[in-house]
């Protein structure tokens, strides 16, 4: 089957536990993620969604796999733009591996269709989000770019 896949890797000077806490924190605007808020319970099978500061639902899905602080797999569907929503559900995997006193964070985002517009759009977002997450965990402050919607 044709796939659209993007992979991003960043090394963050932190612990897997702190990184896990940052990516699973709910009900607070995330400074590294354009001030969006994650909602839902963090357990396998639970539904999640994220909202913009004005309450608009941005993305949503289900927690498919959960192995703290090592692996988190989410189904992920865009909710704001019809064209991207119509492409259906994508799959997002966070993998956290300790390496040389740092954590190697791999983000794998894939969809079972070629030339996905949604995957192309997130491929521009992930490098910014991950750079900002790294800066936030290492210095205490996220990049200015991602602190507001």
């Amino acid at each position: 089957m044709e796939k659209s896949t993007f992979v991003y890797v960043t090394f963050i000077r932190t612990t897997p536990e702190k990184l896990w806490a940052a990516i699973t924190e709910t009900e607070v605007p995330r400074e590294f993620f354009w001030a969006t808020t994650l909602h839902g319970e963090i357990r396998a099978g639970a539904k999640w969604h994220s909202t913009a500061p004005d309450g608009t639902v941005v993305d949503g899905g289900e927690i498919l796999e959960l192995d703290p602080p090592k692996r988190l797999v989410l189904s992920w569907q865009h909710e704001m733009q019809e064209e991207k929503k119509a492409e259906g559900v994508s799959r997002m995997t966070y993998t956290l591996e300790p390496k040389d006193g740092m954590v190697k964070l791999t983000v794998l985002h894939e969809m079972d269709r070629g030339q996905s517009k949604f995957i192309e759009a997130v491929s521009n977002g992930w490098p910014v989000i991950l750079s900002s997450l790294k800066t936030m965990l290492e210095t205490g402050e996220a990049l200015e770019d991602t602190r507001t919607w």
Binding site: Y8, F11, V128, E144
Partner: protein
């Protein structure tokens, strides 16, 4: 101090990896089509399989290339995160529009030249 030392080392690896035309070509190939196997990469480049393998290792160490296994296939992906960190470090927010305008101007002029 230790922290700075390590950050420098990671960035050194990125610049070292980029300081080679063959490795930049490999990144171009992945930019054109992401997620290629070693054989696919070799097919488009005038390099031996050994040379490509060696360059890919350096690109992986610099975190410019990420690897994903799909079954028995090893797929290579361009990882733009270190490049974004360089961009964030030296290109301030207010400079972006001017740089984009300059880049558009250059491209426009060069396209015009080709047509004449």
């Amino acid at each position: 101090m230790q922290l700075n030392g390590c950050i420098m080392t990671a960035m050194d690896a990125v610049f070292r990896a980029l300081a080679d035309a063959s490795r930049r070509k490999l990144l171009d190939a992945l930019h054109a089509e992401n997620g290629q196997t070693l054989s696919e990469l070799c097919a488009h480049l005038a390099m031996t399989r050994q040379a490509v393998t060696k360059h890919l290792v350096l690109l992986e160490e610099a975190n410019l290339v990420a690897v994903v296994w799909r079954g028995r296939e090893k797929l290579h992906f361009l990882n733009p995160v270190p490049l974004h960190e360089i961009y964030e470090r030296w290109i301030a927010k207010y400079e972006r529009d001017r740089l984009q305008a300059l880049s558009d101007l250059k491209q426009g002029l060069e396209d015009n030249n080709q047509h004449n």
